[in-house]
Point group: C2
Chain length 313, copies 2
């Protein structure tokens, strides 16, 4: 039996457990009662925020925070708080990306996207609210008793999500479609790598680094987690591109074949499906190599790298 | 000569100086070079972010942070950092509010709004980027050497801007227009007060409280600044409503008469122009009363309250 097969039951159990805990935490954080310094939480907005963030998704980002923190034996409740905040940022980005002026997607996780289930103005405010709330959650003492740790998380999350990270990556993606210049040059592999590193990679990298920040890990340990996070970030996007050309909408839970139709810059488009699969394998090896210094303690993180590369939805 | 008239030249000089310093700081913070943990700042997005945030507006919010901090002799550079972050949040809210799905406004400060000067997708990402960047700026050591102070600012800013504050207020405003239920009841004075306290008041209150947080002021001093901030927040909105019915587009720098046409819930609509002006006077008195404990040191903050009530643009 391979290590991956041995870990499999434990892996899926741990993933489900972290997802369920993240959901329960978000459910509690997104209750109707306002917190100190809030005035009230308008019902329609809160309903839409909850629709956008509860009960869907594999919660792979919070799982990464939890397992990266576990590597250093940092308390799980703190990792769940940081993971919930990160999931708010991820969910905001999905809501805004689905808007008609952006990717114009009516389906998300097999359900109507927020602007379809509610309306466009509500969807804009849902994204704004979830993004803002992420920083509220990170700043709370429950995330870490040491304010210096919390503020380091705020800074890292803002850099990962902002114009130098995720939001900037979304901009590069729209540009690559020819949105602003129909005669643009097609992106080469280096440009696609940068784009995806920003659009998808930055938040996944943050998830791994957040575990190390929460544990006040040594610089070389943080570096190792950052390298691991960068490798799985790239692997995640290649797997996503492969799903877009090979998956079907029912399994994936969103429209497929759209990226190719929109002329999006994808790894599969440049490398072909075979080339992309080969690179995916290399990235898993790279992720595992980054974890080498942690020995068998990092078996679960290694399993996550393989899961990301092999996922079918 | 009244106190207001005596202060007038000094007041407008100080307001212009804080605005110029805020602009220089934002210009520097929004440079092309990426910061640590950023990958790159895409040119079109950065251009649009700069268009949305530089060279416009009176910068009344940063001015409030600066003058509230000055009351406690907190360093001006730190107040300017917090003020710049707050201005990023304010500017993001303008960009998103102007979107076609929101207030659909083509003019802002006499210039094409961001989705007109660029496009809708860019405007959505500009708002997202400015909001995220605000938390980046607040989390920097230049804002305050003590991480506990920075994280307190993060929390207060998130609560003021989120679904329990500004974003929630925008939602209530859309609901009051009848966007979601054409047969809704018109808002009474209490409901309009709550709406405006969230939509406009929360950020102005934060500006004042931020000065006290930066100075690690005593709880009763923070409370006094919060009361002052709440009073000028209400005054600001009433003055805005009066401008919407009495001002002209050229002076105000945005379309006027739109709120009434859109059936928006305004103080002037409920109280009439005379009633609104009377209440405005009371609010200035309330703001001054909140400052009483600070004596003549608070003369500049009192002048700001009068400026807000009497502004013509």
């Amino acid at each position: 039996m391979t290590l991956a097969a041995e870990l499999a039951p434990s892996f899926s159990q741990r993933l489900s457990a972290a997802a369920a805990e993240t959901d329960r935490l978000l459910d509690r954080l997104l209750a109707s009662a306002p917190c100190q310094n809030e005035i009230l939480r308008p019902q329609r907005l809160l309903d839409a925020v909850r629709y956008a963030s509860l009960g869907g998704g594999k919660r792979i980002r919070p799982f990464l925070v939890v397992e990266a923190a576990a590597l250093f034996e940092a308390p799980r409740e703190r990792a769940l708080m940081a993971g919930a905040a990160l999931e708010c940022v991820h969910c905001y980005s999905l809501v805004h990306d689905d808007l008609p002026a952006m990717d114009d997607d009516d389906l998300r996780r097999g359900q109507p996207s927020v602007h379809k289930a509610f309306d466009e103005a509500t969807a804009i405010l849902v994204g704004d609210s979830l993004l803002t709330f992420a920083f509220d959650v990170v700043s709370r003492p429950e995330t870490h008793p040491d304010a210096a740790v919390r503020v380091e998380l705020v800074s890292a999350l803002a850099r990962a999500a902002g114009f130098g990270g995720m939001a900037g990556g979304q901009m590069l993606d729209l540009a690559a479609e020819g949105r602003f210049d129909p005669r643009r040059e097609p992106l080469d592999l280096a440009a696609i790598t940068t784009l995806q590193q920003m659009k998808t990679g930055a938040l996944l990298r943050f998830a791994c680094v957040a575990g190390a920040i929460l544990a006040r890990a040594r610089p070389e340990e943080r570096e190792a987690l950052a390298r691991y996070g960068e490798a799985i970030g790239r692997a995640f996007q290649i797997a996503d591109d492969l799903l877009d050309v090979e998956g079907d909408a029912a399994t994936v839970g969103k429209s497929t074949g759209k990226d190719a139709a929109a002329g999006k810059a994808t790894f599969v488009g440049v490398l072909g499906a075979e080339g992309a699969r080969a690179w995916l394998k290399n990235l898993v090896a790279e992720a595992e190599a980054a974890l080498a210094g942690f020995g068998s303690r990092a078996a679960m993180l290694a399993a996550i790298a393989r899961f990301i590369a092999e996922r079918r939805a």
